[in-house]
Symmetry: C2
Subunit: 356 residues, 2 copies
């Protein structure tokens, strides 16, 4: 089965629900590992990278968690499919650019994804809907343990796991969650919130990770340090911060709704009106308006509406996902027209928001 | 009957239809006159202004065209009603600021309106829907002739009618039309068009005359010169220019629809979506979006819709008209909320635009 067939139905993954998913869109734990005796991918010869890829594939094949998973070399995946993987946050933009000697292992439910020979020999991640970083940690820890019995990871008793970039050395863990924080943004409280979270040793980033904008009021919160703290402690600390952020966001929403309901209705109404009636719309504007629509659904302004529809639209309106629906190569202008048409079509089922 | 009762139903005047009203919203002819033997209003004592007002009122009362018209002193009209008169283009902002010694004579169908002691002793205008400047000229000419038999106007055999401002001396006529030119604006052809019209000795101004923005893509085109040309010749020349502008606008619309239909659908759809779903909206944004909605109606994107609805919304969403519907004095913020609510309510009858 090709990754193309794997990715055929975008709805499925985006329709998965999880705890606290009013605010926490997804939880992710990523571990970086390298095989002892081989140069890091950036230094390794092609033949070495291919041996690493083979060794990891062989080990992964034996794991019960990865039975039936897609396993393939990066050069066998089309540019279009790579772009789909990036838009679903399954692989990094950097990994999408890799060719021979790099690989991908992906469970169809998208809950486990392993990048082979990205920056490290192995970047394995568990991705779950809603606030489930503890469960995500347990899932990826099990994969790690399984692999550790079959390959030998580069490990220093003093430093811990060795990684290509020193910022990952130690636990080599990155625990993160995607949060939808329109309330804090509309209440002008997002900047102090980001600063407070940073002081706790957590990083706050945009929708596509480091150095990207917080499109659609979606923020990625993750641990900064990988040294001097155990994995469970990192998970626990982030969980605490996330609970605090959820509370802050809920408070901001409640306060806005109480003190400035018209401002909320206005943002949500205009977002709906534009999404449901535009004939040309960019990806960026779409995300920002979908964010407000999602807020409206969460606040009950669209009785009976399912937030999964909005989550799905976040994904399927992105460039490669739009391209997937077309026979010929689309220009950016054509995508903007197709995106608007898809949105009008899908939002026909959603009646205009009802404000109290 | 007070002017307040006169103005109670804004719908009526805005629902009047006229020839070519796809593009020409209204036609107007204004004549400036002064009574011989009295100083211009700016120089006259209050007692003189009151004698002028009395003389003009007496003369007007005798005219068949003004039977049943409202006739009142400016100090008897509330600030709110004065503002309504300005928003309906019946009196100038300057006249609204006048008090004792100034007056207003207004036919209920709003087709004839006389300002007494504005800049001149008498500014009388005829206002008709659509392209009817010739009919407007004939109507106001008849009033002028009727008055001329009853009062003596300041007239020089060399210069013609004498006026307070030298730019009006001579015929003292201003012939104008309000044009809705969204096609030329969207096609980026409005600037060269304005320049071409200016070279023909015509002035192009915004929605509220001299020095105002072209809100809602509405432009006022009028004659510049009042000396050296007879009134019928001025009317004829402006008529010619208007026919040319109508043709240019129709061409621009047809071309846009043929070459960039998506751009048109996008503008119209977004305007509809915002107007039908906003909860806070300014007067300026409303006019600009209503302009696009009107274009959509004219292009057939709203099957069965009546352009009169849009014309009425242009009027009733303005500040004083909104205030009219409320018991207490509204703040600007409250007006923006009320305006949005009125628009959502009224546009509920209008289904989303249908693009081919």
């Amino acid at each position: 089965m090709s990754v193309h067939e794997f990715l055929a139905s975008p709805a499925e993954a985006s329709r998965r629900r999880g705890p606290q998913d009013r605010i926490v869109m997804s939880s992710r734990v990523r571990l970086a590992r390298n095989l002892r005796g081989f140069a890091f991918p950036g230094w390794a010869k092609k033949s070495d990278r291919q041996r690493v890829l083979q060794a990891i594939n062989d080990a992964a094949l034996a794991l019960p968690q990865l039975q039936g998973a897609f396993m393939g070399a990066m050069e066998s995946i089309s540019t279009q499919d790579k772009q789909l993987l990036v838009e679903r946050h399954l692989i990094s933009r950097e990994h999408a650019a890799r060719k021979e000697g790099s690989g991908l292992i992906l469970r169809q439910d998208e809950s486990l994804c392993l990048m082979v020979n990205e920056e490290d020999h192995l970047r394995m991640q568990s991705l779950l809907p809603g606030l489930q970083i503890r469960a995500a940690w347990e899932a990826i820890d099990a994969v790690d343990t399984g692999l550790e019995g079959r390959v030998e990871f580069a490990f220093s008793p003093v430093l811990g796991y060795l990684t290509s970039c020193p910022t990952n050395v130690g636990t080599a863990i990155r625990v993160s969650a995607m949060l939808h924080l329109p309330g804090l943004v509309l209440a002008d409280q997002i900047q102090p919130t980001i600063e407070a979270v940073s002081k706790l040793g957590m990083a706050v980033r945009g929708f596509y990770g480091e150095g990207t904008d917080a499109l659609g009021n979606v923020f990625q919160v993750s641990n900064q340090r990988t040294l001097g703290e155990s994995e469970p402690r990192i998970v626990e600390r982030l969980e605490k911060v996330l609970h605090q952020l959820i509370e802050n966001e809920e408070n901001a929403r409640a306060l806005l709704l109480e003190q400035k309901p018209k401002v909320i209705f206005n943002h949500v109404g205009r977002a709906y009106g534009t999404l449901a009636n535009a004939h040309i719309i960019s990806s960026k504007e779409t995300m920002n308006l979908l964010s407000l629509l999602r807020l409206g659904v969460e606040l009950g302004l669209f009785p009976g509406a399912d937030v999964a529809l909005i989550n799905e639209l976040f994904i399927v309106t992105q460039p490669a996902h739009l391209q997937q629906t077309s026979e010929h190569k689309l220009s950016a202008d054509e995508r903007d027209v197709l995106r608007a048409s898809l949105l009008r079509e899908r939002l026909r089922a959603l009646p205009p928001p009802k404000a109290a």
